[in-house]
């Protein structure tokens, strides 16, 4: 065992070049940024989508149904490529039509937009279920107090649905952190791509992929602790289940 541990080229992981540790940590930070941005964008799309699905007219509902069904039936990798090419194309065509120069979209912004759009479909379904789970009596009571639609939702529906939505939202966060790895295929230098470059340059494939897996795993485990804490806080007012 000791001989095995000694045979691993640990110096490759040192934080400054020639070690690749710094690159991996920078990749992890990028991964976290993209995941967080996409998650927040996904939640915003999801909230709008859920409200649209519940209160919207037939055309809006049909459109949202198509969006959530299509996004959830097509592999994320295919979606990421489609949205990436289509999104940058569309933006540049619009800019050219308006007489501006073409721009290169930064990897960070494109990654956030692509993953956020995919997350939005899943978040729509999670939030729709959570909103419908809020007891109707509470909303009626708010209406009886004379609150407007916006006030009812801001003060009653959104806070009351959070406990119902949290397990699903926690799951979505774990999914988005792992989906960021797919951006390596389009060439964003997040953790997966940094790992691939480090592994390719040093030929220590096994070492670097194990380290990358460990970094992703630690992100997941820390997230689990954070979400458990948030869930406990939001369930304060609810009776214990079971």
């Amino acid at each position: 065992m000791n001989a095995f541990m000694a045979s691993i080229p640990w110096e490759l992981l040192s934080l400054s070049p020639p070690g690749w540790g710094g690159n991996l940590l920078r990749g992890l930070a990028k991964t976290f940024q993209i995941a967080l941005g996409a998650y927040i964008l996904g939640l915003m799309i999801g909230l709008a989508g859920a409200l649209g699905k519940i209160y919207g007219g037939p055309i809006l509902r049909w459109g949202l149904e198509t969006y959530t069904t299509l996004i959830r039936a097509v592999p994320e990798l295919v979606l990421i490529l489609l949205l990436y090419y289509a999104g940058t194309d569309l933006l540049n065509q619009t800019l050219e039509a308006l007489g501006y120069e073409r721009v290169d979209i930064s990897g960070l912004a494109a990654g956030i937009y692509v993953l956020g759009f995919v997350q939005g479909a899943y978040a729509t379904e999670v939030l729709r279920g959570a909103i419908l789970a809020v007891p109707a009596g509470q909303v009626e009571a708010a209406a009886a107090f004379g609150m407007s639609w916006v006030q009812r939702h801001r003060r009653i529906v959104v806070p009351a649905m959070i406990p119902f939505a949290l397990p699903g939202l926690a799951n979505l966060w774990l999914i988005v952190t792992k989906d960021t790895a797919l951006l390596a295929v389009v060439g964003f230098s997040e953790l997966a791509l940094e790992t691939r470059q480090a592994a390719g340059a040093t030929k220590s494939y096994f070492l670097f992929y194990v380290i990358a897996a460990a970094l992703y795993l630690s992100l997941t485990l820390v997230s689990n602790v954070v979400f458990r804490w948030i869930e406990r806080r939001y369930r304060r007012g609810q009776p214990e289940l079971g």
């Binding site: 792992k178 989906d179 997966a192 992703y216 795993l217």
Partner: protein, 231 residues
Amino acid sequence: MQWYWLPEYAPKFVDGLLVTLQLLGLSIFLGMCLAIPIGLVQVTGPRPLAWAARAFCTMIRGTPLLIQLWLVYYGLGSLFPSVPGIRESFLWPILREAFPYAIFAFTLSVAGYEGEVMRGAFRGVPKGELEAARAFGMHPFTVLRRIWLPRALQNVFPTLAGEMVLTLKSTPLAATITIFEVYGVSTIVRQETYRIYEPLLFVGGLYICLTGAIVLLFRWAENRIPRARAG
């Protein structure tokens, strides 16, 4: 939109579709064979085994499948040639191909996710039914085969349909390790014809059809399972 390339590449897409279905079928089958014991030991197994199964599920579910795939293919694949004698052995022709690595990685992934599902499923079977089976004098293995496993599978059937769709949607990752399944074929079309959207939209449509087929298949199978409905 130009679709002139479609007839020319149609045979390749058929081949790719078969590879996708093989990847899906093999990894689901092998993965479920692993998932059942992984779920079971977490409910009744001795503590070290339960703990190991728990750790396995956490590790698989906490890391991206892409990293697992690359770890297996590039990582393990780069270690094998250094094992003395392996290049002369009968295993070498298998270890040189990418397909077995993909099956291995996908199987472990399915085992990890479905192991967690099966844990809940085994736990969800009412205690009284198992006690009744034991009272009939059934051997523990007979209880598992006749009562516990069928009842557990029945309860999680809809969940398994969803998980199968998720597995289908992760098969395109195999294209990153040089396996030309359906999505991989579309990347060939993209490189050779410089059409970006059409091949992607085409495989997107194929995946929607496959997802629909899986959903319908499971719905049909679910209706065939007899089940007592409350109320």
